[in-house]
């Protein structure tokens, strides 16, 4: 490979740098964007079974190129983000008790929530999309299926944990992503943006809980 300097390779030719930046980018696009869309979409549960099953679920299932979109825009980026994220989590030597600073806790919770989300998604995707492949009843009345599931307090709690972990992971990831890419540099800018991300997280969590409660009405 021709290079124009003796250290050129330690840049875009460096796997480590490219994978880390890819991991950072994928967290927002498309994974984070999908989470926002997904929570907005499911907040339509408020408008009843008829509306949800027809206008939301059927409309999405009727999309052309649905499976390639699901695989290339959702599953593959998510898988890449998770694999690189697990490799990053292995480097952690968190001491949340010795250093009780908010950012240190966020550092620790970011990695913890990542693992929680991964376990939750295995269950969540398995019980809806995957099980729906051979159980048409789930696809035909997803509202009723989710209503039965969320009526169980254990599953409701599980979904709440999965939701809050995902929202925290996205909001905190956004605020650190701004430092990684160099959008926020001064401590004041980093603090301001962290508050903006926290506000965004609270709104997104509210939308998610609103959607969950919608299935129970």
């Amino acid at each position: 490979m021709p290079t124009t300097g003796r250290t050129m390779t330690a840049s875009i030719g460096n796997r480590h740098f490219v994978l880390r930046r890819l991991h950072s980018l994928l967290g927002l696009l498309p994974v984070g964007a999908f989470l926002i869309f997904h929570l907005w979409e499911n907040s339509q549960s408020r408008f009843g079974a008829e509306h949800y099953n027809r206008e939301v679920v059927e409309a999405l299932q009727g999309l052309n190129y649905l499976v390639p979109i699901e695989l290339l825009v959702i599953a593959l980026p998510l898988l890449l983000h998770a694999v690189i994220g697990l490799a990053i989590t292995r480097e952690m030597r968190a001491e949340p008790i010795r250093y009780r600073y908010a950012r240190n806790w966020a550092y620790w919770l970011q990695r913890l929530s990542g693992v929680v989300i991964l376990l939750f998604l295995l269950l969540h995707v398995g019980m809806t999309r995957i099980q729906g492949l051979w159980t048409p009843a789930i696809r035909d009345d997803l509202y009723g299926y989710m209503q039965t599931l969320l009526s169980n307090p254990g599953f409701f709690a599980l979904y709440l944990v999965g939701l809050l972990a995902s929202v925290f992971h996205l909001a905190n990831g956004l605020s650190t992503m701004a430092i990684v890419w160099g959008l926020t540099t001064s401590a004041a800018a980093q603090r301001r943006f962290a508050w903006a991300c926290a506000g965004f997280g609270v709104l997104l969590a509210a939308l998610g809980v609103h959607g969950m409660l919608g299935f129970l009405s």
Binding site: G5, T7, M8, T9, A10, S11, I12, G13, N14, H16, F17, R20, R21, I88, E91, M92, R93, A94, E95, R98, Y99, Y101, R103, N104, A106, Y107, W108, T176, I179, V180, W181, G182, L183, T184, T185, S186, A187, A189, Q190
Partner: protein, 253 residues
Amino acid sequence: MRETPSTIELRIRRQDGPDTPPYWETFVLPHAPDHNVVSVLMALREHPLTHDGRRVDPVCWDHNCMEEVCGSCAMLINGVPRPACSALIDQLEQPIVLEPLPKFPVVRDLLVDRSAIDAGLRKVHAWIEIDGAWDTHEPPPRIAPQQWAADYLYSRCMSCGCCMAACPQFGAGADFVGPAPLAQVRLMNAHPTGRHDKTERLHAIMAEGGLSDCGNAQNCVRVCPKAIPLTTAIGELGRQTTIQALKDLFGSS
């Protein structure tokens, strides 16, 4: 004001050699005003008696300047990494617990091998090439006072290693160079002569163990005894490496 105690009680984590197991010893010394941790350790060295009267080897530790500029006396004091010379006894909770600076290999007692910091500084090219040992017939480089004021903050680094000790991404088995060398990249890249090697430094921190390994826990900036804006340096280097990657991808200038 807290009532001044009449004694100073030290609990010290000791270790006879790099590969021997650590053990704890307690020492009680008479109180004296204006003591700091280094001066107490000096007093202890004169009469190394444990609290139950056993005579032991004097405690080994590193110190030099006594005015928080050399960085050699950094250790874990009551669980916090900080220089021992500026840790005033009357401001510390007793018993005062002293442990070697974590993340660095212990040589003996409170003495650690901090050569990992030097290795990091070498890795990121944290120096400035001289522009010729001859007369260049040019005036010295000019720096705006505003820039000088910002750069000065980073020049205060004394390589004590407190930021590295508190960093959850730095430690044995990890590649990460740590916050201190990264802050020096920020400093050297801004220097009128040092900026000529900016690309080389950025490429160095874009490799394994570089800037990407920072996890943004930001403990470093909280424990730095010189109040160096380490996380600002990391944010600025994030911006510099992003621009550098775009230059490498699409061609520079």
